[in-house]
């Protein structure tokens, strides 16, 4: 276990350094990445924004899976996986929501587009998971894990409605057209995927470490509870 984490940490550091280099390197540097024609240098935020979004959604999906497993089986490990993936997911989602407007302002001229489906659904998922984490923290119930799992499942049920409501609103209120997509230069695609791999390694490293921390914390709490029980009984 310890060796696994060390190996992962080394791999993650190397990949993050390489990813940083690839993302920021000018085209004339060795192994540099081409600069985007219309947006210029600021487009490089894309290499952080998009992989963070993919990682955040993957982690939220893992949280949903762990919550369902927990409700079905009441396994404490599933609960810890749910907690860990929610915490790390919120961090990556915050990165998405911060880098998005920074990128949007020079490129689209506006910080925020209230009618964009992806922006709104990301924002709402972020809000739901922050409420989830606050609930976990302030809950005085002994079955916090059950309650949190229920909230996560309700959150998943909400997502289709968020998509539908904003999509339908757009059909009734046409918004400024914002061109997305077009094809991606193969070298840019490589940098994007490499960054995603690096972020996945980072997410895995943080999640794994947090998982072990949570297990240790719960063992300590149980031991303390048992000790105080022993002390009070005659």
């Amino acid at each position: 276990m310890k060796r696994g984490i060390t190996i992962l940490a080394v791999v993650t550091s190397i990949m993050l350094c390489l990813a940083l280099y690839f993302a920021l390197a000018q085209p004339d540097w060795p192994l540099g990445t081409p600069t985007e024609r219309t947006m210029g240098y600021v487009q490089r935020i894309f290499y952080y924004h998009v992989p963070s979004a993919w990682t955040a959604f993957l982690l939220f999906f893992i949280n949903l899976g762990a919550s369902i497993v927990y409700l079905a089986r009441r396994s404490p490990k599933a609960d810890i996986v749910a907690l860990v993936s929610a915490e790390v997911g919120v961090v990556f989602c915050t990165v998405v929501l911060v880098t998005g407007p920074i990128w949007a302002r020079p490129v689209w001229g506006i910080w925020w587009d209230a009618d964009d489906i992806r922006l709104q659904s990301t924002l709402i998922m972020w809000l739901i998971y922050i409420s989830y984490l606050i609930l976990r923290r302030v809950s005085t119930s002994s079955l916090t894990a059950v309650v949190a799992a229920v909230v996560a499942i309700l959150g998943a049920l909400l997502v289709p409605f968020v998509f539908f409501s904003i999509w339908f609103y757009r059909t009734q209120h046409p918004s400024p057209v914002i061109a997305h997509g077009g094809s991606l230069d193969p070298h840019m695609a490589f940098v994007l995927l490499f960054n995603w791999a690096a972020f996945l390694c980072l997410a895995g490293l943080v999640c794994w470490t947090r998982y072990r921390l949570e297990i240790a914390k719960r063992q300590v709490e149980e031991a303390q509870a048992l000790e105080s029980l022993m002390e009070t009984s005659p």
Partner: protein, 224 residues
């Protein structure tokens, strides 16, 4: 005892308690009036603009008033360990949830019925579109707020900051429903587009979250 008889008994108990004390209704009513007055001072639109924004104003005011109501109805159950007595009894939890939701729904609908004329007066509102559609919008929209609100209020009972936890959970979940209610109301007031799809979306939202709430309530009620 059957599901329906338990629901009816709990609902009757809540209505009787409320009728005798009237504390929730009175405070909610006055709170709603204050909200309307503050909004009318903060947003002072022309007649044309007011039709566009009134939908949003009205539903935000109703949302805040509903939160006040929701906090109160579950708090009542904690006094004299009423909730514990219910859990110890062989009655299933689901009719309790339904009865609470129906009771809250009734209070909030009464509140809306009393606040709407005030809004019409303060903002000089007149519906250009089919005004009858406002009834299904009110019913489905209020149920959307109340069914989730009742569920999250029950969750918030066992937290350190009970009163703030309910809005923290309810507001993100209500965003699609609020979009539906506000856009449907604006559609009816301005008459510029049809509210039908929004009403259908509200109905779908209600169905999904009512079923989910009924199914999952037992799990959270026992989270002692």
């Amino acid at each position: 005892m059957s599901f329906l008889s338990i629901t009816r008994a709990t609902l009757e108990k809540d209505i009787r308690l409320e009728w005798r004390s009237k504390d929730a209704i009175n405070s909610m009513l006055y709170f709603a009036l204050l909200v309307v007055v503050i909004f009318s001072h903060s947003f002072d639109p022309t007649a044309e603009e007011s039709r566009r924004i009134a939908g949003g104003l009205v539903w935000v005011a109703f949302l805040f008033a509903a939160v006040v109501a929701l906090n109160q109805t579950w708090a009542r159950e904690l006094r004299n360990q009423v909730l514990d007595a219910y859990r110890v009894s062989p009655a299933p939890a689901t009719p309790l949830f339904l009865a609470k939701a129906l009771g809250n729904f009734l209070f909030v609908i009464i509140l809306e019925a009393l606040m709407t004329p005030l809004f019409i007066i303060f903002y000089n509102l007149r519906a250009v579109g089919p005004a009858l559609q406002l009834f299904p919008i009110a019913v489905f929209g209020t149920w959307a707020l109340v069914v989730n609100g009742t569920f999250f209020a029950a969750i918030s009972l066992r937290t350190r900051n009970r009163e703030i936890m309910l809005p923290l959970l309810l507001f993100p979940f209500s965003i699609p429903a609020m979009m539906g209610m506000v856009n449907a109301t604006t559609a009816v007031l301005t008459g510029e587009y049809s509210a039908r799809v929004w009403i259908a979306m509200l109905l779908a939202y209600d169905v999904v979250f009512t079923v989910a709430g009924l199914y999952l309530f037992e799990s959270i009620l026992d989270a002692e």
